[in-house]
Symmetry: D2
Subunit: 298 residues, 4 copies
């Protein structure tokens, strides 16, 4: 199976090597060619355009946002015009439900297959092949993709035949993470202002009811007030909660907590703190409780 891989950002560059290591013939494309050097040295072929990467059985896209995916698929020398009939585009980026539906329609019209397979996991999980993959698409196509999913992730969860469902699940997951962060932000601001040691407090939480990775990771960042370098920025958090809200609006599902969180991220961005880790909601809660450190500091 010839595979193309488009997008060698922090996630893609951690994922693609697993495909090479698994012995799959890989063609890779990235806007900045240098990012492909290591992969090419290891046996991949560089494709000059997204279209060139899409001439095999499968092309995977792992890009930063809707705009990048749109350009890569619908643009000149893009995937849509190059992908052979019957071949499959696996979109692993976190994109909007609406774009996913548009991609499904466009590929169907072109006689191509389309699968959505966004992931949970930070770059270190990608590098370890430990991503969780959320996949949706036609059953027989998913079967074909199975070996790819097994190469890239530790487990795949399937959500039926409509690709956009996987995107909705992914976006709702990021909303849940953001909710956890905001709730921790408020709780730490509260107990912190009362003089309670944040690390003792975090230990209580994570060794009792809140023993999940999401509490350990973000509770730790807030307790340490360590908002830089970002694992995932406030700006991206704002974008993803916004995409969840867009989907909720289309489905007519009021989400008051999501709205509130969206405004909190926007407040960080307005203060010049959009590039901090999204756990910087903890800093914002502390600021609103009277702390006078500027938000834009790391």
């Amino acid at each position: 199976m010839k595979i193309g891989f488009v997008g060698l950002g922090s996630m893609g560059s951690a994922m693609a090597p697993h495909l090479v290591a698994a012995g799959k013939p890989l063609s890779v494309h990235n806007r900045t060619k240098a990012k492909a050097d290591k992969l090419v040295a290891d046996g991949a072929v560089f494709a000059e355009t997204p279209g060139d990467a899409a001439r095999g059985e499968v092309v995977i896209t792992m890009l930063s946002d809707d705009a990048a995916v749109e350009e890569t698929v619908f643009g000149k020398d893009g995937i849509l015009e190059a992908l052979p009939k019957g071949s499959t585009h696996i979109s692993m980026s976190t994109i909007s439900v609406a774009l996913s539906e548009r991609l499904a329609a466009a590929h169907a019209e072109a006689g191509q297959e389309f699968v959505s397979a966004p992931v949970f996991g930070r770059p270190d999980a990608a590098a370890a092949g430990k991503l969780f993959i959320v996949a949706a698409g036609p059953a027989e196509v998913l079967d074909l993709c199975q070996s790819i999913f097994e190469t890239l992730g530790q487990r795949t969860f399937f959500f039926g035949e409509e690709p956009a469902k996987a995107n909705l699940v992914k976006l709702s997951g990021n909303f849940l993470i953001a909710s956890t962060i905001e709730s921790l932000a408020e709780a730490f601001a509260l107990v912190g202002k009362a003089g309670i040691d944040p690390h003792a407090y975090l230990e209580l939480l994570t060794e009792t009811l809140f023993s999940a990775p999401v509490y350990k990771t973000y509770g730790g960042l807030i307790a340490d007030e360590r908002y830089t370098p970002p694992g995932f920025t406030a700006k991206l958090g704002h974008k993803d909660v916004g995409l969840a809200l867009d989907a909720a609006e289309d489905l007519q599902v009021p989400m008051g907590m999501a709205s509130l969180i969206s405004e909190r991220f926007l407040t960080l961005m307005a203060a010049g703190a959009g590039d901090l880790d999204w756990s910087a909601l903890g800093k914002l809660a502390k600021r609103d409780a009277g702390d006078d450190k500027p938000l834009s500091d790391g």
Copy 2:
């Protein structure tokens, strides 16, 4: 060490037997005497008043709310007038920070000791001796209480010398649980309206980033739409988030998410659904997304 135990509600009646089983001489009091029968059969002595239960070295209170604790401590035949100088009142109820401070002051003035030790865990955890205990009070008094804590809980977390700190930590914990519930409520309403199977969704969450008990318990109740019988009612959730907000107001810590959740619980109560499990926030989110089942049904 002679111990008194006041309050044999669903929590207290699951906790007190551990003290009897551990061979501690126990005097118990409850407004409804019949609830003490089993304990008395097992060797405890019934005390006719809270004061009568408080004539030993330690008296434990495990009551439903501030009003019950106030009546029990400050009322006629109450603990304050009966507890010997140097003896200790361990308050394990979930009460307000303000009442905890008032108790600390009153006991200090009476030459008595006071420790706050609220717990995390439902009645089944209490019955299994698996509670998590959050304790604060004078160090040497906490030392004396240690064997009691070990009898009742699986682990105790200490938060310093001021009893009210333990109450603040407990209330903040209940706020975090309520936040998790509301975020799950919104997420399930969203994916559910899109036609995604709630149990498949829950499995994804709890086997990846959200593997903590709090997600399993409340995600399960929401996925099953099983809001009765309540483990902890919406009404009590409203009360506890309200106590967290009261403390936040005194400390001048804005908590937008807590405010939002408080209004959600109040909406359930106004609809006659205050006695459902607090996870019925899931039902409210679904109703607001267009579901027309009345909230007050179980």
Copy 3:
């Protein structure tokens, strides 16, 4: 001055007659031709396409939303391709800031002039020539438009040279109206549940600090629980507050109250009540306070 007028909905059909009455040579276009019959009988000429209406010095558009304006301007036989160089497009619809900026750029590139002049006022105010007009555009072009504004409105407020500023002002105004409605909704739910007569309460408000039309109109509708026929629907309220939020997001201005209101409108829509008057927020507040009448009733 030859004028074209595109859009004979409830607002446009109340505005255009004033231009005919003022003796301006008027060419009108509407998708449903019949709506132009009366105007044609009074001396206007029917234009088969938006483009045909745009061959004079000025073309006015008064349409329902962004999509309609986009189609009318950028579509086949649209305004952009027909409007002579140097002629002016006056957009009076309530549209997004982003579309207004796009229109300004497109018209500039085509050598055409563009003015934004959205209005405040319901159809009855339009019929009476009593609209308030919010205008922005190049100063010398606004001068030329002055006689049109005077024909259609009772007063025009100018907001400088950038057309999109007028749209932002208009959207912010609709947000302020929606805020007033939601605040009244909550206040009436509160005093109403306490048994206070809503009309006595309304009289107090409007004869003291809240003597503005906005309180009289919406307070009256809420006190009467008269949500149909709609003057302006909840769905349109949701759209306009959404456009204000979109602009706020681009400008990085957090608007917590706007977000909250947006969710309230969405709740109405999800319940099938999106076509009620936007003052039906009053009904929603009452429902959330325990009233069990279905929202979708008029």
Copy 4:
């Protein structure tokens, strides 16, 4: 009719002179005696205690909050023990619904009459005898109070026999004002960041749909960024919205907007800006939109 007047703060000291001028025999009490000097010079008698001021047919209280009223009525040498059977206590302070109910019950038990008559209007309106009075109490007692109301205010609105209803109406009115302020705060932050002149914007609002005093007053303060000296502080706004929320909680009426506003005031207070005018919500909205001036500046 012998009248007592307790409380010569900024409101009371502007009201009491009208009673003297109207020729009523007036006995006045204030904690700081000096504030009564002018009134005594004009013919009033100084009462050493609240009780001493309460030995006539009517005693009026005009105090800052619940605590002051409680102390004055229930405390040593207070009104409750001194007021003759059949005489009337008119409470004109902005107090909680709960305290009003408690006062009604206590006076009834003592064979005394009780009327609630809180006011709308700032000190300048009080000085001009232009207050709006919101009154509730037994009909025949209100009749007796009529001449007092006419002396102090320009118009009285009656809300039935239960005194606490007047307090609820007053609190809901302050909530409506606070809502207006927050909506203006967000709107000005939005248009201001877009570069629109705030005074031009204010003119548009107040000369069209928003012509009420509440928009002129608070819109003016926000446009001018003139938050000191305060006419009514953020701290007091927080208190009154909090009392409205307390009443709403008792009545089980969710008020999302009120909750949001309460958190905004608390954010001002946490930043040391609680003593600015409550229109400083405008400053907070601007700060959250990226303005970096400290909130605590005037």
